[in-house]
């Protein structure tokens, strides 16, 4: 029995050691740093400053801006969940070529990354780009400048994120729907329910745990999101697309204010925790297991 236990540790040891070195210790270190005024490469050792970093943060203009922007990037989550849901409903026995269409819808999610971000940047090119060319052709005389203007850069980001999320949501819904029994659906059809009633009263409640899962992971993913925005805009023009993750990155690696940056990134963790808790509490109202 004792040997048995030892073998257990042997199996998890390689992974556990990695976790401790590359996650646990850095997390604890960062937790300590957020209470210090440490600036990397200043030659000074860290001083304990208590909650000074947080006092500084709430007075920082960039903090207010990045909270606002981070709330903005939550918008694509419910939209792409709703679109993903509708597509899944259609692909679940209401079309031909289901497997092909499923792959078509999923591919854009699977391949999205920095390369596709640059494609969006060119698509949104203000003077000649295809999106504005299309808008002009349908009579929009003054199409938005998208990434080139602080007023509209965020909208371009939101469109990019919405388009990127649909495929994933669709796949997850489709998997969930295929596990549902069709009895309730058939019964409702017999009773003469319309398609809209079917959607609203039967299908949507049945997949509500999936919706809950997608909302939580989607919000967390959106808050953590960094690469596709930063690669195109670096948080600009101005600070119009500086979300929380970019705010933390800039503090750490443009200004080397490591103590302050740690405080910012832990605040991000708190926001994620709060949003998850709020949804967890709120789920009782609409999630049916």
């Amino acid at each position: 029995m004792k040997r048995q236990r030892l073998i257990g540790y042997v199996f998890i040891a390689p992974n556990l050691i990695g976790m401790i070195v590359f996650m646990l210790i850095p997390a604890l270190f960062s937790f300590y740093l957020m209470f210090t005024d440490w600036v990397f490469a200043s030659g000074q050792s860290p001083h304990f400053v208590g909650l000074d970093n947080f006092r500084m943060m709430v007075r920082d203009d960039l903090f207010v801006v990045s909270v606002k922007n981070t709330l903005m990037v939550l918008i694509p989550v419910p939209i792409s969940i709703l679109i993903g849901f509708l597509i899944a409903v259609m692909l679940n026995n209401r079309t031909y070529l289901q497997k092909t269409l499923r792959a078509f819808f999923f591919a854009p999610y699977f391949t999205s990354g920095i390369a596709i971000a640059f494609v969006w940047m060119v698509l949104f090119q203000p003077s000649k780009g295809p999106i504005n060319a299309f808008l002009r052709s349908i009579g929009v005389a003054d199409p938005p400048l998208w990434f080139a203007s602080p007023d509209t850069a965020m909208y371009a980001v939101l469109i990019m994120m919405t388009a990127g999320g649909i495929g994933y949501n669709m796949i997850i819904y489709l998997a969930a729907m295929q596990e549902l029994s069709s009895e309730q659906l058939e019964a409702a059809k017999m009773d003469g329910a319309t398609f809209g009633q079917l959607l609203r009263l039967i299908i949507f409640p049945l997949v509500s745990p999936t919706t809950f899962f997608l909302m939580i992971t989607g919000f967390i993913g959106s808050i953590k999101g960094f690469g596709m925005i930063y690669a195109i805009t670096q948080g600009g023009p101005g600070n119009s697309t500086t979300v929380f993750s970019i705010f933390a990155y800039k503090k750490a690696f443009s200004f080397y204010e490591m103590g302050y940056a740690s405080a910012v990134s832990w605040t991000m963790f708190l926001i994620i925790l709060c949003i998850t808790l709020i949804q967890w509490v709120g789920q009782k109202r609409w999630v049916h297991y």
Binding site: A27, M90, P108, F110, V122, I172, F213, S245, I272
Partner: protein
């Protein structure tokens, strides 16, 4: 008889119309990628012609040649990315599977506490870890080397979860029979569990490959030398230098997506299953 027939026909018509609508919708979502590929084969004067030329009138290969041949290092970025992605694609699933076996099949003291710790670690956003990792890697002398991406990448919480989930579904009778035959945990793991879990290992390997291939943040923070750059980071550099050479930008973007497209089409079945099961069950 007639009414039944007409009902069937009506259903088929509706289904066909749905199919067409969905096909168009999927093309709309695919259109950025289609535009990227078609532009990579266009001449500069055709990039922004409107209506959009979805199929270039006069396709050319020069943009693709330029991306690979100008000596801006795109070939090197590609080699770096492939190296790191392939090492992690093999290493991460193996380490995760070992831990998953320990967590699912061997009872030992503190197991649940350690697993809870894993759960907590999963909630910490990567941004929290960047500052301490930057300092630690500098001290470990692996800052600005590929080790800074490979070493942490080997250890994933997600992989442990996904594979553990699968191991839990393997009936206990199978390993008990092997025990009676005198096999130890290591033999059971390597000769029984690994072969049985090929689909889930493949799925995780594919997911891990795409993560690593797309990983921009870690490369941005931990790599300094241009000759070490991976494709996402190198591409950003490349795009800035390309300026308004949109053809070349789109040729580079196409090159950046091709490995993902290949993996997607080869592993489609696994990917879709893997994504769904990891979400719905877990």
């Amino acid at each position: 008889m007639d009414t039944r027939n007409s009902k069937i026909i009506r259903e088929r018509v509706i289904k066909s119309i749905n199919t067409i609508i969905m096909a168009l919708a999927s093309l709309l979502l695919l259109s950025p990628m289609i535009w990227m590929i078609s532009t990579s084969f266009k001449k500069p004067k055709d990039v922004f012609t409107y209506p959009i030329q979805w199929i270039p009138h006069d396709p050319v290969w020069t943009n693709h040649f330029k991306v690979w041949m100008t000596g801006d290092g795109f070939t090197l970025f590609y080699f770096n990315s492939l190296k790191i992605s392939i090492i992690l694609m093999i290493g991460a699933p193996l380490l995760a599977a070992l831990a998953a076996y320990g967590f699912s099949r061997i009872p030992f003291k503190g197991r649940d506490a350690i697993f809870l710790l894993y759960l907590c670690l999963m909630m910490i956003p990567p941004q929290v870890l960047f500052v301490p990792k930057f300092i630690m890697f500098d001290w470990m002398k692996i800052y600005n080397t590929h080790w800074a991406l490979i070493l942490p990448g080997l250890f994933t919480v997600f992989g442990v979860f996904m594979i553990r989930q699968f191991f839990m579904s393997i009936p206990h009778e199978i390993s008990e029979a092997a025990f009676i035959d005198g096999a130890g945990h290591f033999r059971i793991f390597f000769q029984l569990f690994l072969p049985l879990s090929k689909p889930v290992l493949a799925t995780f390997a594919i997911i891990d490959f795409t993560w690593t291939w797309n990983d921009y943040e870690n490369a941005l923070i931990f790599l300094l030398d241009k000759k070490l750059f991976t494709v996402p980071l190198g591409m950003q550099n490349f795009m800035l230098e390309a300026g308004v050479d949109y053809n070349m930008m789109m040729a580079a973007a196409t090159a950046g997506v091709v490995p993902l497209l290949i993996v997607f089409f080869l592993g489609q079945k696994y990917i879709i299953q893997g994504f769904s099961s990891s979400a719905v069950k877990g």
